[in-house]
Amino acid sequence: MKLSRIPQQIIPLGILFAAAIIGLVVLRAIFVPPTFGEHGHYRAAAVDEISQLPESYAGIKACMDCHSDVYDLKQASVHKGLSCETCHGAAAAHAADPEAAKPVVPTGRNLCLTCHGYLDSRPSGFPQIISATHNPAKPCMSCHNPHSPIISAPTEECAACHAGIANQKAVSHHAELACTQCHTVPKEHFTQPRVFAAQKPAGREVCGACHANAGSGKEIPQIDLATHGGRYMCWDCHYPHSPEAQ
């Protein structure tokens, strides 16, 4: 077959086609990035780029070596499921160079309340408190160790658990009265309050010891135990922790 046999009009057309194909190949080589299509319709190098991004969280294992005391304490406590960085924030920079970067050390009440503040959507059984009545105005850490939060040395301060009542009594006519004046409290109540209940006054005589006793002191208003209030308990009319005479 001779070249001259090919119809004349085909030759410029052929050149045009060849140029178009070469152009396409060149443009593709320029615009399609190197590793595109190695594993699929994407740039394979992107996977390596993403996997080489730096980490901000070091993970709890990183803290183990230098802070073994805190680690051991926490792992033996109810907070064993928490990572150090759940509370202290991202600390990879600190783990790499402890002098150069310091993690956050939380203060106050907000951190604990993100988990322990009462919300009805939380699973029932998760320990929650109502911040307004659970020792308000004191940082949680003044009583709870964040790395081992259950209070093992029991408090004998009734206010730690009955803050509402204690606050009310503190500004009432009964401010000077000890809680144990009216309540008998077994020692076990401080550690297992629900198993060992404190006694509530049973009869009118508890109040009568002061209010129907001429020898109890001038400043204590006196009533006649036999007639005053009829057959009702005194606390059906007077709130014992904040008594009013009206």
Binding site: H39, Y42, E49, I50, L53, I60, E85, T86, R122
Partner: protein
């Protein structure tokens, strides 16, 4: 006198010297590198296949996951951009299901006063489902979003043209347009962490282990245990996207 048999000092020392190699062998078994077996071989993506499990019954809605995710992945702090977030569901006895997620749950949830009595209420952490049939991958015109060999849906930020098709296509609302780079962004299962053997940041900080992550290929991984011992479901299963994030304890209202 009954003297103990004497061993010449020279003989004793050479005996001790003879045991040195076996001592070294013994000690080498306790080399710290052995105890914390580090994966020094190069990461091979074809050998891995990841999934995540979320146990709604354990989630306390503390939002630490959403917070940690923003820090780890440099997600803008404004309350419109999330790779993962926590939703609160309130299902009333009568009427519409109420769902909210103020700032993704990072700052906690305000008290919600329901109009009618509440039947059930709980928290649902959400994230990219890393679908096997990912609609976002199908619609991407340039191949900037793709499923990697280990089954993670990723975005090639340097190749994305920011056309937003994928954001429209995602039935789970898991994608957003990054306000500064102007490209699509989403959860990567913390690909830079998992390929080094670490947990995703959200799983690392979860205080109740409501999030479980691991290897589908291994019989003993946490995720396989999770799948074996829980009755799980995936979100919007009727779309046939085949998600790799499994939910345990989810009501039918969760979608």
């Amino acid at each position: 006198m009954n003297q103990p048999p004497k061993m010449p000092r020279r003989e004793f020392l050479s005996n001790v010297a003879a045991t040195v190699p076996s001592w070294l062998l013994f000690l080498s078994a306790f080399k710290p590198e052995r105890l914390f077996a580090q994966e020094s071989e190069k990461y091979d993506p074809t050998k891995h296949n990841y999934s995540m499990g979320v146990d709604i019954r354990k989630c306390i809605g503390c939002g630490r996951c959403a917070d940690a995710c923003k820090t780890e992945n440099h997600v803008p702090r404004e309350p419109f951009f999330f790779r993962t977030w926590v939703e609160r569901y309130v299902i009333p006895v009568e009427g519409e299901v109420y769902v909210d997620s103020p700032n993704g749950g990072i700052d906690g949830f305000p008290e919600y006063k329901a109009e009618s009595e509440t039947l059930r209420t709980f928290f649902v952490p959400k994230l990219c489902n890393h679908c096997e049939n990912a609609p976002c991958v199908q619609v991407c015109p340039v191949g900037a979003t793709f499923t990697s060999q280990d089954g993670v849906v990723l975005v090639d930020a340097s190749y994305c043209v920011g056309c937003r098709y994928c954001i429209q296509a995602c039935p789970y609302g898991a994608r957003y347009l990054h306000p500064t780079t102007k490209v699509a962004d989403k959860c990567t299962f913390c690909y830079h962490r998992i390929t080094k053997g670490d947990l995703p940041a959200c799983v690392e900080v979860c205080p109740t282990q409501a999030r479980v992550f691991g290897e589908r290929n291994s019989n003993s991984s946490p995720i396989r245990r999770f799948l074996r011992f829980n009755d799980v479901k995936v979100l919007k299963s009727y779309l046939n996207t085949r998600p790799k994030v499994y939910y345990a304890g989810a009501d039918e209202e969760v979608r």
